[in-house]
């Protein structure tokens, strides 16, 4: 029996001729299960390119509904599907792109008490969310499940992405906590508060899809990539695991972030940079 159908050979030919890829790589993708948490600005491009590439099973986790204000950047949804659950809308779109992919939509929010249940059995976790609490929760979950985490973020005209955790060249990579033991920066700003350029979420999402595929193919690396429109691109090598981080302890760390979620800024709809600072005060510390 053929490992791939004729349609799959035709469909994936242009990528299978890549040196890192070939038939073995395509089969690794086909057998892989990934979870994409968040089918928004980052999740849409991630889902498009993972589905296009032929990742076998994709869990899409999002409790939110498509809103017209999403569509400038959440390009997998359509005006017709405003009001529908984003995970379901995204699943429809990627099935239309590639019927060989099994899309499993999970219209739920990820919390402390369901993260392991929703995410066990996956090979890679992809964080396309927009709140620091969820980011730490997903990192802790990936540590506990002992899988790599592809994590990206975008706000205003800036973006960054990297692979955290997992093993590269026999060495444990830094987890998200190793790199970012506390929250500063955009201070918990979310795209619904501060806004974002669509092409920025697009670039970061495509970068994340690339990292996820490299990771599945066994060609992962250790850069964090950063962009800001109008400035040079920049990449830096991330350190390896920090011995003092909870991820390096003998035991998997307790997940202990979700309790901060009451501090987020859901009430604020639009803010000026001045107001942003005021908001930052209330949400900066999620984990000290």
């Amino acid at each position: 029996m053929r490992p791939l159908s004729l349609d799959e050979y035709k469909r994936y030919g242009r990528q299978m001729i890549q040196s890192e890829w070939g038939l073995p790589g395509q089969l690794k993708l086909k057998r892989a299960t990934v979870a994409v948490v968040g089918a928004g600005g980052l999740g849409c491009p991630v889902l498009q390119y993972l589905a296009g590439a032929g990742v076998g099973t994709i869990r899409i986790v999002d409790h939110d509904e498509v809103d017209v204000s999403n569509l400038h950047r959440q390009v997998l949804h359509t005006t017709d599907r405003v009001g529908r659950n984003k995970a379901e809308s995204a699943a429809m779109a990627i099935e239309a792109l590639n019927p060989h992919v099994k899309a499993v939509s999970i219209p739920k929010a990820v919390h402390n008490n369901n993260a392991i249940e929703l995410l066990s059995g996956i090979d890679i976790l992809i964080d396309c969310t927009d709140r620091p609490e969820t980011r730490y929760l997903l990192s802790d979950t990936a540590v506990r499940l002992d899988i790599p985490l592809v994590s990206g973020a975008a706000i205003a005209s800036s973006g960054q992405w990297a692979v955290y955790g997992g093993v590269m060249n026999g060495k444990r990579r830094a987890c998200y906590r190793c790199m970012w033991p506390a929250v500063i920066g955009d201070g918990g700003g979310r795209c619904s508060d501060v806004g974002v350029w669509g092409p920025v979420t697009g670039m970061v999402g495509c970068g994340m899809a690339g990292e996820a595929i490299k990771e599945i193919l066994g060609h992962g690396d250790g850069y964090m990539h950063m962009m800001r429109l109008g400035t040079p691109l920049r990449s830096i090598k991330l350190r390896s695991q920090r011995p003092t981080c909870s991820c390096a302890g003998g035991e998997a760390p307790e997940i202990r972030v979700g309790e901060c979620s009451t501090k987020t800024t859901t009430a604020v709809e639009r803010v000026s940079p001045k107001e942003l600072h005021a908001i930052q005060d209330s949400v900066t510390i999620v984990d000290t």
């Binding site: 960054q160 500063i184 920066g185 918990g188 979420t201 400035t231 830096i236 350190r239 940079p273 000290t288």
Partner: protein
């Protein structure tokens, strides 16, 4: 600083990423001139990251020092690169600055 580099000064390029530029007059790139040696140090000591961080807090920071500084250093969660290398490998606050060094401060973003 826009003035020219004076005798006994060195020039350091500074960049703030991940939203930190909001604390520094909303400007991501700065060029600063600092003395090559710590003023009034005896014996004379080359200027180091400890001095630079102090200088940034007193002379460049436009808002809310607690978002950037903690003790002599910077807050946990700020990644510092000296000439593209993680400053943990370079001695952190004890790194002795050279003319033309580039120092980058980055924090993480969360939006999506």
């Amino acid at each position: 600083s826009v003035k020219g580099k004076e005798r006994g000064e060195i020039e350091i390029k500074i960049e703030f990423g991940g939203g930190l530029h909001l604390l520094f007059s909303q400007q991501a790139r700065h060029v600063v001139h600092v003395p090559a040696h710590v003023p009034d140090s005896s014996p004379s000591k080359p200027v180091d990251m400890r001095y630079l961080v102090k200088y940034l807090k007193s002379d460049l920071l436009s808002e809310r020092i607690e978002m950037f500084g903690e003790g002599d250093g910077v807050r946990p969660g700020i990644l510092v690169l000296i000439n593209d290398a993680d400053w943990e490998l370079e001695g952190e606050l004890d790194y002795e600055l050279k003319d033309g060094d580039e120092v980058v401060f980055i924090s993480t973003l969360h939006g999506g």
